[in-house]
Symmetry: C2
């Protein structure tokens, strides 16, 4: 017998969705059972990650995307992880007013997620919420996050398609991108493209992508199903005809006016089609699903260890601090103890 | 019999330090044994975290701190996790030139750390490096990181004292701080204090701290040894004499000229004394050591699961993606399997 909230969510009841979200956020008793029951009804939503540094105009662009996507989907959900996003509450007045129209639209569900405490779990919370919205019938789930930390990278891995937003003049951005975001970027937007330096930013990104494609083609074996497997862009190297690989397109946009947003949506849709219709795209999806399960497993096993071995872990931490035990041996012993 | 590199590190040989760092970074065979042997010789260094958003002038301020701290310590080490920091290589030319003097000083060791791949492990790498520098004889280990992700928060927890740098005019900063950094801030610097809005930023922070102290005093029991335990700032509430609690001071600085840096160093030193000489300070240190061990354990247990259950995890991920299994049950089953 299924929980009454489950059938209400499946019938599109937004108040039931809000209640399940609260249960997930606060990890209320029984929330896992709710998610278990919803899970078979998921898998239809397109999970679209939007990431980039604060200052790139990510929120304004997300707002534009939301408008466009809502026009072609009955239901769209937004999960805001970025503390500087107006969706998540870090808004200046103008942003808030602009958002209003979405808050009043029953076909749009917006949920913000706070960074978790010491134990992490951000990526799990986000996956959980995405599943709830998927079951509710969202055609698209937008996940907006600051692309800096590892935890945020994990969140991005939950997406089928990831948009990375940069802005000209933020020279740091390209550096930050190198540090890990390139790995998850499927489409780039050079936002604020009416500012000086937009062309240079596009060129920088394209050069970086060309270098990346080169090194991947030279170094990697056809990375089918690897943990952090990234699709090779032109496997086979020189001479062969173009294959089914994906090269992230770079699209110029102006979030404040909406310029370039139609083309951006087309690029994102093209990636979706690539994922769904090519073998290589399916491999990418599988390897991300794997990475996502590993991220969840990481939280789950740590939680399990803490609940079983709370006191021994505290005692061990004291012993490490007193230099009676080194932390590597301490971890090994605790894991050994957990396993027996 | 100890490894020859160990005695060389202990005697202050910087080339041996560099070799051990490389072994740690690349997780070369035997690196854990090196760390095990070094561990009993650690515990003397003061681990000083410096965090804040890009644009707050964190790197320039770190450079100033490094200069001051080097004057009173024979050896100082810097671990740069921030991809936008000149220490870690994301430098514009001016920054690089300024850094030169430190790169040529044999009493300064600078090491940058990249964000890790899918499995995280950033906080462990940083703790490992900090231990190496501690054993080398560093009086201070500065850890510079962008204060956004969970992983970066974990890194900050490895510090004995954490400085959070903000700048006036970056309105987002205060929002970002609320999202988790407040929890780890021991001292605040309002940098670029020659710009308009510095006084307002100081006031905002002080108000936020006053609110935080109030709610902590009202809500929390004396949180001795809790996982994410935060020292109450004025326990006991109104009427009682000032106790041994710590209220993070807010110091105005101008990184480019060095204004306020002497006072900032004094505030940081005062926190160090507080940690070392008060019972409450010792509680904070213990709870951070605990959080740090948990972060290491999280990586270690996940690694152990992946090496033992690589194929079953991949199969389970496929089953989850095919909706034959929900991810919560999948995690439970994998943990159960790991434990038997």
């Amino acid at each position: 017998v299924s929980h009454p909230l489950v059938s209400r969510v499946l019938s599109g009841d937004t108040r039931a969705v809000a209640r399940v979200c609260r249960a997930v956020d606060d990890r209320l008793p029984g929330y896992r059972d709710l998610l278990r029951e919803l899970h078979p009804h998921t898998g239809r939503a397109w999970i679209l990650g939007v990431t980039g540094s604060p200052g790139a105009g990510k929120s304004t662009l997300t707002d534009q995307l939301l408008g466009h996507l809502r026009a072609s989907h009955e239901r769209v959900a937004v999960i805001a992880v970025d503390p500087t996003s107006p969706f998540s509450g870090g808004a200046v007045l103008g942003d808030r007013i602009r958002m209003q129209r979405h808050f009043e639209d029953p076909g749009v569900f917006i949920r913000s997620v706070a960074t978790r405490g010491a134990l992490g779990g951000l990526s799990r919370s986000v996956s959980d919420l995405a599943r709830v919205f998927d079951a509710w019938g969202a055609g698209v789930v937008l996940i907006e996050t600051v692309g800096v930390g590892q935890d945020e990278l994990d969140v991005t891995r939950a997406a089928h398609t990831t948009l990375v937003v940069v802005a000209p003049g933020l020279g740091d951005d390209v550096q930050a991108i190198k540090a890990g975001i390139l790995e998850v970027a499927d489409v780039f937007a050079v936002n604020k493209a009416d500012r000086p330096g937009a062309e240079a930013a596009v060129r920088d990104l394209e050069n970086m992508l060309a270098l990346g494609a080169l090194s991947l083609a030279q170094v990697s074996p056809p990375a089918s199903h690897a943990v952090s497997g990234r699709h090779a862009r032109r496997p086979g190297g020189g001479g062969a005809e173009p294959r089914e690989g994906w090269t992230p397109p770079v699209q110029k946009t102006v979030g404040t006016t909406g310029e370039g947003v139609v083309q951006l949506v087309e690029s994102l849709e093209a990636h979706r089609v690539w994922v769904e219709s090519t073998e290589m795209g399916q491999d990418v999806r599988r390897s991300r699903a794997h990475a996502q399960l590993v991220a969840m497993l990481k939280d789950a096993v740590t939680e399990s260890m803490l609940s079983r071995l709370g006191d021994p872990i505290r005692e061990m931490a004291d012993r490490v601090e007193a230099r009676q035990e080194d932390p590597y041996t301490a971890c090994e012993r605790l894991i050994e103890r957990f396993r027996t």
